[in-house]
């Protein structure tokens, strides 16, 4: 019996450094008819 925790960004921590607003607007990529943000990469490092 074991639980394996995947490598993830801590969302709570991202509050401190996030919010630059440079990431892609969701609908500009491929959906155009539904919304989701999880597949938008963070752009902060490239700023």
């Amino acid at each position: 019996m074991k639980i394996k925790t995947l490598k993830t960004r801590n969302l709570k921590e991202s509050k401190k450094l996030g919010g630059c607003g440079e990431c892609q607007t969701s609908c500009q990529s491929a959906c155009k008819t539904s919304c989701g943000v999880a597949n938008q990469p963070c752009e902060q490092e490239k700023k």
């Binding site: 639980i3 993830t8 969302l11 607003g21 491929a30 008819t33 999880a38 963070c42």
Partner: protein, 460 residues
């Protein structure tokens, strides 16, 4: 809040507010479920009773498991509090910068797809092409209202934007000059049905377009049922070789082959696999957006079949990845380590605030799906934002303006959903398009299952 689920035999516990993802065996998953409401001794007693025939489940192993759960809770990775969302995560700003425009360069189309949400390209209005002056004005408007934002996005959309190709081309050239002048970086996208693609257009797009979205519904018979010309002739034969050539020349640059599925192809996995078999590797397939009484509209009774398709898609993608012939599916792309921050997850797609659509006449709407509905006209390029109350309404429309979203495990993946779909389903941007929610949640479960397997096998 946590969400536990099993897809394709992989059991996962998702900690909603930290974003932590835990892959668990069935006993551990049950322990996680019981943990919140029961004491340590109660959890152990219940599991010993339930798994009495399993020698691996004994007081020693269960004690170690409970220790692990305690540690995850202490580390803020299990049952973490979402209270931090109530303080300091800024809401979208009705006075904030605008960073993305959907340019409707052509309200006319050379196909007549009956399921088109844009009314065969005319958006319930007159056929029209955007002038170069209007397109340049749109870029000026964007730069002037973008504040400190450096990355600006412009999507050439329609109708069919290649029916106004010269304007598209000249607008890009104009944008490049603005970049240098104002220290901005434009990312241009072209969404096309492919009918008019030629060598010159491919060459230009592969130089200048950050992304191209190419419409293909999958198998020939599925595609040609809807995507026909004015005479009713299917477009598959014309566009597929062009898309193959375009993508081949595109190299590593971004593109999506984007399809729509309807009630006619509830086995849409076959269409996705058909796209992959044609050699395309960046795929998107969207549920049709149409009136509920349309024959094509998806129904409640279709959901089990659709869920099965999404689960099988995730498994097939894993199998193909193992075989070295992988493809990407837009809704399964999850960058768990470098995904969007909490601010982005809170504010959603930005329609009506940081993202606007521009009609050929230079009118502004909250997004492309609202174009043609005068109640949602938010301004014009000449006057700027005129309907400030409407912009305020969109700014206030976050995931936490809906009780359903506050209680939903997928809230930080979805950010409250699509305002246009909400209007279509409920009449209000603050409504909930429940059917879309069901599909969205299933896609995220499948995406997490896929990511878990890829990380486990070192294939991520």
């Amino acid at each position: 809040m946590i969400h536990t689920f099993t897809v394709n035999g992989i059991s996962i516990a998702l900690d909603i507010f930290s974003g932590a993802v835990h892959v668990a065996d069935p006993v551990s998953l049950e322990a996680i479920r019981l943990y919140e409401q029961h004491s340590r001794d109660e959890v152990i007693r219940k599991l010993l009773s339930r798994y009495e025939s399993n020698p691996e489940v004994n007081p020693g192993t269960l004690g170690a498991l409970m220790d692990q759960l305690d540690e995850l809770v202490r580390a803020g990775q299990l049952y973490s509090s979402g209270a931090y969302l109530n303080t300091g995560v800024p809401l979208p700003d009705a006075q904030g910068p605008i960073k993305a425009l959907c340019l409707h360069v052509a309200h006319v189309c050379n196909l007549a797809c009956s399921y088109c949400f844009a009314g065969q390209g005319k958006y319930q209005g007159q056929a029209a092409l955007m002038s170069l002056g209007t397109a340049r004005g749109a870029l000026d408007f964007l730069v002037a209202n973008s504040g400190a934002r450096r990355h600006l996005e412009v999507d050439f959309f329609g109708g069919e934007p290649l029916l106004n190709w010269e304007v598209v081309k000249e607008t890009v050239v104009y944008g490049r000059a603005l970049e240098r002048e104002h220290n901005k970086a434009f990312r241009f996208t072209l969404t096309t049905n492919g009918m008019l693609l030629n060598e010159e257009i491919m060459e230009f797009c592969n130089q200048e377009m950050h992304n191209v979205v190419l419409s293909l519904d999958g198998r020939r018979e599925v595609h040609d049922h809807y995507r026909v010309d004015a005479k009713g002739k299917g477009s598959y034969e014309t566009i597929v070789p062009k898309f193959q050539e375009f993508v081949k020349r595109r190299g590593d640059r971004e593109y999506y082959i984007r399809g729509t599925y309807t009630r006619r192809n509830l086995d849409f996995l076959q269409d996705i696999l058909h796209m992959a078999d044609l050699g395309f590797t960046r795929l998107s397939m969207e549920p049709v957006v149409t009136a509920p009484d349309d024959l094509e509209a998806l129904r409640a009774e279709d959901l089990p079949a659709l869920f099965e398709q999404y689960e099988r898609l995730a498994q097939e993608m894993l199998n193909r990845k193992r075989q070295g012939r992988s493809f990407e599916f837009y809704h399964y792309i999850l960058d768990l380590e470098n995904g969007p921050c909490i601010h982005k997850r809170f504010s959603g797609c930005g329609s009506g605030t940081e993202y606007l659509a521009v009609t050929p006449q230079g009118e502004l709407y909250p997004c492309h799906q609202f174009v043609g509905d005068s109640a949602y006209r938010i301004g014009t390029l000449k006057k700027g934002i005129v309907n400030h109350a409407l912009r305020e309404k969109f700014a206030a429309n976050t995931l936490y303006s809906r009780q359903e979203c506050r209680n939903c495990w997928a809230q930080l993946y979805c950010a409250g959903g699509c305002a246009a779909n909400a209007v279509r389903a409920t009449g209000s941007i603050s409504g909930v398009y429940a059917y879309g929610c069901e599909l969205f949640k299933k896609r995220i479960e499948c995406a997490l299952m896929l990511q878990a397997c890829l990380q486990e096998e070192g294939l991520a």
